[in-house]
Symmetry: none
Subunit: 419 residues, 2 copies
């Protein structure tokens, strides 16, 4: 399957610069992993004439056209109308799509007694003969169809809907076209920068055709995705296994998980397995550590709670950090990080506790500690360990990287690795 | 003359999804402010043939073509070669551009004794008759020229170079091309769903040409954007004012801000203005309220801290929620939400405190409270108020909406609105 794809994003807000076209980035990554070449991205506003022209151009240079945005009632289903017309398809009412929308709507408004409005039902009109893509995170369904030797996918614009729909609905649809299986495996690495990982793997990556190997940088982390194509999933897995083995031996304990989505997910599973509870004490991360662990369903079985101590009074009064430490070393210091972790463990009655105190920015603190300096600590029954983080970048990134270091300390402790 | 711009980004890394096309966002914003319409963005890889075709298409539909990327030696000056050819221009050595590159290189490597290499000098070849744009943050110069009635700008790809060069070099070059101003105003609404807002405004929106009105859904919020075009910013503002006035009277206190980015931003400003401090106590939101307020630089001037009380022991032991309340009503109840807010206010020593306790999902709690039921409370000196939220959707959305309700209670209190 050697396909050439073009992505067409529809939305005046993109042309005004109100948002960046991150859907194009997401889909390009996914398509690259599927071995599908992307030759062009096009962005066009909420304008039927200009969208029509963009589609006409795309038809001359791509055999897979993927649109994002312009579905749903707020834009009069612009994309659906224009694409259906461009490919000579009628829009027909799809009862299955309507039923799924109703179910989503009910789930969203369980006690309101509200029913879907006319313009919601409009979304159930889809090109004749298409495969509807259910939207698990919104109402507007997407769809896929084939016409004139070109495959067309229509996906919703909001990034929270577009990527998930592509992965869960469009990839299986495309795999059906390919007459084979496409299997991904994703290794997550923490503790080495993207450029260092890429430098080590560059020659190997360039030489690989099937499976392919691609790195994706996440804030302070690297995801290495191995993608194999084969007649069936077992054969694809067999292609992946030796590559995974080699990466594991190369990166050793930096590999924190396979097909997992975050460090906190790994930590939650380890805590559950070992029957241990967790607490946290946060200064510069301001609740992010607690937020990340409680993003996960089932966190309540291990997480007892946290204290966000944004002032010295709270560090002393609630967490019991000795005033002498705060006076002598300042709030941003290794001794205070240790005392915070120990205080959280004691105050919140947990087996383990993590802490973070540092300078998230944009300005250095009043003792001259630079932006990005963060002390993260881990306390357990009988010990405490503190790690110094020098994070680069804006406030949000400093906070994210610091929280990840706290989870990584926990992961290392729970898997018996050196801290 | 009304100008129509097309942005062409050159870079295979964009088509692989390694980076998002943030240059397009930056330039679109800047162009919009100059009153220049952007009708298309195009992204193409490091491929001369495909770039040439993209330029040919752009020539038929734009009179201002702005390229980003493909300038330096690593891509063989792809963009410069293709664009010069497309407009029938020779590349000629520009001694001034070479001198500026030398100066930049010296500044970058003051002690290395290194000199510029041949391929660096290659960058000093520019289309004949162009205006070179000095690069203050890199070596590759940009340039602007006019040919065939079309204005062409070439800018470097790295975002740290592209935006600054546009603002400092290209805008003065374009001065006089722009024939008017585009002005945006964004009203933020909390407390009414997107489809309900849209339903109220649909006919009006469809009838409007200048200014235009467009709704954008955020989780549990709606942004209404008014955009006007006029000969100058004052005239554009005058077009916007009556629409804004009408929307404000229609939606009343649901409008929480204009040209702001979040409820917490509004709350932080109000707290600062009134010299009041804030604390929080969180159960189901698990740190999200604290995280959202501390996402903002300057939060430390008003935010004292928070307690994430994920167990009854922490609610009682740290926040002082009476055991009788927990036993009688359960953790997910209005009385416990009130006691949590009062406890946070007292324990953390703040003027005001918000709390949230509820069922984020995916499963109902052990007392049978349904997913999405959250009690949020606000405590102040002499009072406490609790609001019952029925949030819909997955765990993440329930948490986000609950946190937003907590901030909305705070906003209402601080602006004297009924709770």
């Amino acid at each position: 399957m050697s396909h050439t794809a073009e992505l067409i994003a529809v939305g005046t807000e993109l042309l005004l610069g109100n948002i960046a076209n991150t859907d194009a980035q997401t889909l390009s990554r996914e398509l690259s992993a599927l071995g599908i070449n992307v030759y062009y991205h096009t962005v066009v506003g909420d304008n039927p004439e200009r969208l029509k022209k963009a589609v006409e151009i795309a038809k001359t240079r791509a055999d897979l056209i993927i649109t994002t945005g312009g579905l749903g009632p707020t834009c009069d289903d612009l994309t659906k109308n224009v694409l259906a017309e461009a490919f000579g398809k009628k829009l027909v009412y799809n009862p299955e799509a309507a039923r799924r929308m109703e179910a989503y709507f009910q789930k969203l408004h369980p006690e309101s007694g509200r029913t879907m409005t006319e313009n919601n039902y409009q979304q159930a009109y889809l090109p004749e003969g298409c495969t509807p893509f259910q939207n698990d995170r919104g109402t507007a369904p997407g769809c896929g169809f084939e016409a004139d030797g070109i495959w067309v996918l229509m996906l919703p614009g909001p990034p929270s809907e577009c990527g998930p729909m592509f992965r869960s609905r469009a990839v299986p649809y495309l795999a059906g076209l390919a007459d084979g299986a496409i299997v991904n495996r994703s290794l997550r690495i923490f503790g080495m920068g993207e450029s260092a990982v890429e430098f080590q793997l560059r020659d190997q990556m360039n030489a690989m055709k099937n499976p392919t190997l691609a790195p994706y940088a996440k804030e302070g982390e690297v995801e290495l995705r191995i993608t194999a194509k084969a007649p069936d999933p077992v054969a694809a897995q067999a292609l992946i296994a030796p590559v995974e083995e080699e990466l594991r031996s190369r990166f050793g304990p930096l590999v924190y998980g396979v097909d997992v989505s975050s460090l906190e997910e790994v930590c939650l599973a380890l805590l559950k397995d070992q029957g241990l509870s967790l607490a946290c004490a946060e200064s510069c991360t301001g609740g992010l550590i607690a937020k990340r662990i409680t993003d996960l369903a089932g966190a309540s079985s291990v997480f007892r709670g946290g204290v966000v101590s944004y002032t010295n009074e709270v560090k002393h009064g609630v967490l019991g950090v000795p005033r002498e430490l705060l006076d002598q070393f300042g709030a941003v210091s290794a001794p205070v990080a240790e005392a915070m972790a120990e205080g959280a463990r004691r105050t919140l009655g947990a087996d383990l506790a993590v802490s973070a105190t540092g300078v998230a920015g944009p300005d250095p603190d009043d003792r001259g500690n630079p932006v990005g300096l963060v002390y993260v600590a881990l306390a357990w029954d009988g010990g405490v360990f503190v790690h110094t983080v020098h994070a680069a970048g804006p406030r949000e990134r400093v906070r994210t990287v610091a929280a990840s270091h706290a989870f990584d300390l926990l992961r290392r402790r729970l898997t018996g690795l050196p801290l």
